[in-house]
């Protein structure tokens, strides 16, 4: 029977998919436009302790660098992160991971970061610069109550041991 055929498969349906495709390419364009403007502001502002740049020709994948905040156990250390932007950016957050090993209560061994602004508290206003600043402040002020790395969370109480362990781990991996 005719009514059993999905109305979407008809003429109207195919027209809609065409619209969807053109919309998709426009989306990609607007995402790369926004990422370019973010790169501009990041380079113009020249914030201390953070930097980021697209990884090769792909504007959707960036490599960020964070310097450990001064007067914390992380001072003097640098951390590399990967930032991957979905096609829905900035409506959906980028996936941000540590590439360098990071022994931190809210970072797991694979480099995944537990940070609310990268999940449910994401806002379209946030950009690479504010993400990196947030992660930098997360380093100095971990959320001990919901740790991804329980060992780090327990060790955080004793800052001297933490620093010692940190330098040993980082040294071991950097050498």
């Amino acid at each position: 029977m005719a009514q059993n055929v999905s109305p979407r498969s008809g003429f109207g349906g195919s027209r809609k998919t065409n619209e969807g495709v053109s919309g998709g390419s426009k989306d990609t364009h607007s995402v790369s436009k926004r990422l370019h403007s973010e790169l501009m502001t990041l380079m113009m502002k020249g914030d201390k302790g953070i930097s980021a740049f697209p990884d090769g020709d792909n504007i959707f994948k960036w490599i960020g660098t964070i310097h450990g905040p001064e007067e914390t156990v992380f001072s003097g250390l640098t951390f590399k992160l990967s930032l991957e932007f979905p096609s829905g950016y900035p409506y959906t957050p980028p996936s941000v991971k540590f590439i360098s090993p990071c022994f931190h209560p809210n970072v797991d061994t694979a480099g995944n970061i537990c940070l609310d602004i990268l999940k449910d508290k994401w806002s379209a206003l946030l950009d690479v610069r504010t993400i990196l600043i947030s992660i930098q402040s997360l380093l100095s002020e971990p959320n001990i109550e919901s740790p991804l790395n329980t060992k780090a969370a327990q060790m955080w109480k004793n800052q001297e041991t933490y620093r010692k362990h940190l330098t040993e781990v980082v040294h071991k991996n950097s050498n």
Binding site: A2, V5, P7, G20, K33
Partner: protein, 202 residues
């Protein structure tokens, strides 16, 4: 003579100095204007696409967005709609369109944003096979009136609009759907005729 010339030269010098001062002042003003222009342009940047706001709307909390950008932001989180800047509660009705001098003066919110997320609701509504649903897109009305006045059925079965007149929901209908509707109305005519013949014979 020497003294007069010296005064003249000093006069010249004194007159040229303020000129220079004025020049530097002018330069400073120019710089100020340029930076003002830059900050002015940034003032009117959308908080989502970071570009000059097009079809601008401003939220009750005072933050500027392009309507397409804000629309998409609200669509991505229909359950907890908040301002991207200050997280205040926000919705379609809690923002004000901005009309500049060069604008069209149309409410940007009335426009369908250029890239809406795919919504299929109206299609599933029309595709539903519903007996006797009179949502304005059917064109025929059906009721089973066997009883005191069986010809009520006859009357209602032929109560469809003349073929060719566009039903109210026609703008949502694909040619295939219209075909389906025509097919269905033919089926109902035959059912009605058979029923009437049966009534005559019985």
């Amino acid at each position: 003579m020497a003294s007069s010339s010296s005064t003249a030269s000093t006069e010249e010098a004194s007159t040229s100095q303020p000129e220079k001062k004025e020049e530097t002042k002018q330069k400073k003003e120019d710089d100020g204007e340029e930076s003002d222009k830059e900050s002015d342009e940034k003032m009117f940047e959308c908080n989502i696409c970071l570009d000059t706001a097009k079809d601008a709307v401003v939220s009750y909390c005072g933050h500027l967005f392009c309507w397409p950008c804000l629309y998409q932001w609200l669509e991505t989180r229909p359950n907890r709609q908040s301002c991207p800047v200050c997280k205040a509660a926000i919705s379609r009705d809690k923002c004000i369109p901005l009309y500049g001098r060069g604008g069209s003066g149309k409410d940007p919110r009335s426009k369908i944003p250029p890239r809406p997320p795919p919504t299929r609701t109206e299609q599933t509504d029309n595709g539903r096979f519903s007996w006797g649903s009179n949502e304005g897109n059917g064109g025929f009305h059906m009721s089973f009136g066997i009883g005191a006045f069986p010809f009520g059925f006859f009357a209602s079965a032929f109560n469809f609009g003349a073929p060719g007149t566009a039903p109210a929901g026609a703008n949502f209908m694909t040619p295939q759907q219209i075909e389906e509707q025509e097919f269905l109305s033919k089926v109902f005519i035959w059912v009605a005729l058979i029923f009437i013949v049966w009534l005559m014979l019985a």
